[in-house]
Symmetry: C2
Amino acid sequence: MKLATLKSGGRDGRLVVVSRDLTAMTDAGEIAPTLQAAIDDWAVCGPKLEALAESLEHGSVPSERFHEHDALSPLPRAYQWADGSAYVNHVELVRKARGAEMPESFWTDPLMYQGGSDSFLAPRDPIRLGDEAWGIDMEGELAVIVDDVPMGASREVAAGRIRLLMLVNDVSLRGLIPAELGKGFGFFQSKPSSAFSPVAVTPDELGDKWDGGKVHLPLCVDYNGKPFGRANAGIDMTFDFPTLVAHAAKTRPLSAGTIIGSGTVSNKLDGEPGKPIAEGGVGYSCLAEIRMVETINTGAPKTPFMSFGDTVRIEMLDDKHHSVFGAIEQVVEKYEG
Amino acid sequence: MKLATLKSGGRDGRLVVVSRDLTAMTDAGEIAPTLQAAIDDWAVCGPKLEALAESLEHGSVPSERFHEHDALSPLPRAYQWADGSAYVNHVELVRKARGAEMPESFWTDPLMYQGGSDSFLAPRDPIRLGDEAWGIDMEGELAVIVDDVPMGASREVAAGRIRLLMLVNDVSLRGLIPAELGKGFGFFQSKPSSAFSPVAVTPDELGDKWDGGKVHLPLCVDYNGKPFGRANAGIDMTFDFPTLVAHAAKTRPLSAGTIIGSGTVSNKLDGEPGKPIAEGGVGYSCLAEIRMVETINTGAPKTPFMSFGDTVRIEMLDDKHHSVFGAIEQVVEKYEG
């Protein structure tokens, strides 16, 4: 089942079921007005939405054309967005880029930050920011939406509470990160609003590419219209989603609709940091990483952070080259308050 | 106007207007079913709720007895909870307690962390946690609920978006903080669910004790039934609420219903860390602070963190000794998953 939230409607948009091929949709308002309402009562709404999705595939319900640019993020605002950093290769490279050592414990104890969840961007919204000097970067990631998770849940319990998957562009302001992390309280101003894919999908939509913990497909990140990253989300993910969810729930319950992110998808190649696609590598899901590899290879970063006018596209294709989640596609623009 | 959220109802409870003396309430469901719904459309709902509150004071609408223990936190779950650390005295002491230096910039650049907002405790709920060894502490604070705040809002614009005030118990797990902050991503497991006061009040309820930026009243913190803290929230607040709100909005808009906290209320005395109430001081709003003062005075902390069975009460009284927000009153209990 694939679900989207249309811009028509209030702050939380309007829930629709979308066809597997992303071309058609049907209104789900009789089951639940919004995705949050559906996830609040998933035991009841989930099966009804599945039945509606089945009817949509069979053409037995009225449908309209689905346009990805009409969609908000599936949860336009959420009660929780917590982002892991499960691809430890990325963490190691970013830390190196900051001149910081990475403790060995990072390979066994998940990193996770509490993100802002009140004002997500739509997947085709521009990324409006006040200053290019903030070091604007994209981060291509996967995320899950969970049902209620009890405090102290095991990895196994957590696994059973994953309801939906999405893609994320976790926008980061690299120039603000060192000073902010230096204050010791984590990210705040350095993490502006994130955007999620046009549709959220149930795990079964991924078939055998979802093993209950990871998604075994490349994440396609294009930068200014050119292939930039094709890292496989199933490779080098040190902590899988159930592990991340259990980590988040250690000292408090997670409410239905909580979004848990993977962190930037990142692959090593033969134990070395990934190469650019043009050189036969799988590339990168964020600019910080290519800048680090450039620093290792040439002594200095060459690729600048994003400027106003730069575009990023984040998508995931299945074995038949069909888009699973639709595409996040955003241009960076100057915010004119 | 004073607003509360009753436990009857769904995940977001049921909105009621409460009388100034906290004894009576009247249903506000015809105006807005929940506080989030009211704040989502405050231009319409705010004046209607004010009119209903006026009618309640005059006895011209049906009313029932209000019991604080029937209340959830005013927003039982919120789209954002960001907590400042505006009483820099507290930050300095806590950092000293951790053996960490405090940079001078902390006096000019607000500290703020992104908190979990999906599962707040009710004001009379027990604080259930898995392990006393986590170093359980309370933190008595004030918080504001804001309307939509545009990205890049000035302090003046931010000031005009403050709609309601509450008290907070920002529960902290001191034993988990050093390792978690050492990872560089801020608090996560070390900040379990917080609790807010039984009612949220509009700023005018504070009369001249609210100057548009700070609340000039003592925060009464009782620990195990004894006075523990009487620090004045208007003293030593280095960053006032509009400054904190503007800080939060620097790189992203804040959605209506965002909660911004003050951080632990803390006063110096004649330039020295505060003294216990028994010694003529104003005491403390958290245990970490008395432990630090004990360390300064005797070389080691004497007061342990909270054990199962320990209780905390957080309240604020006006000049006539009437409770403004009702009382947060919680016992620490063992969580039996």
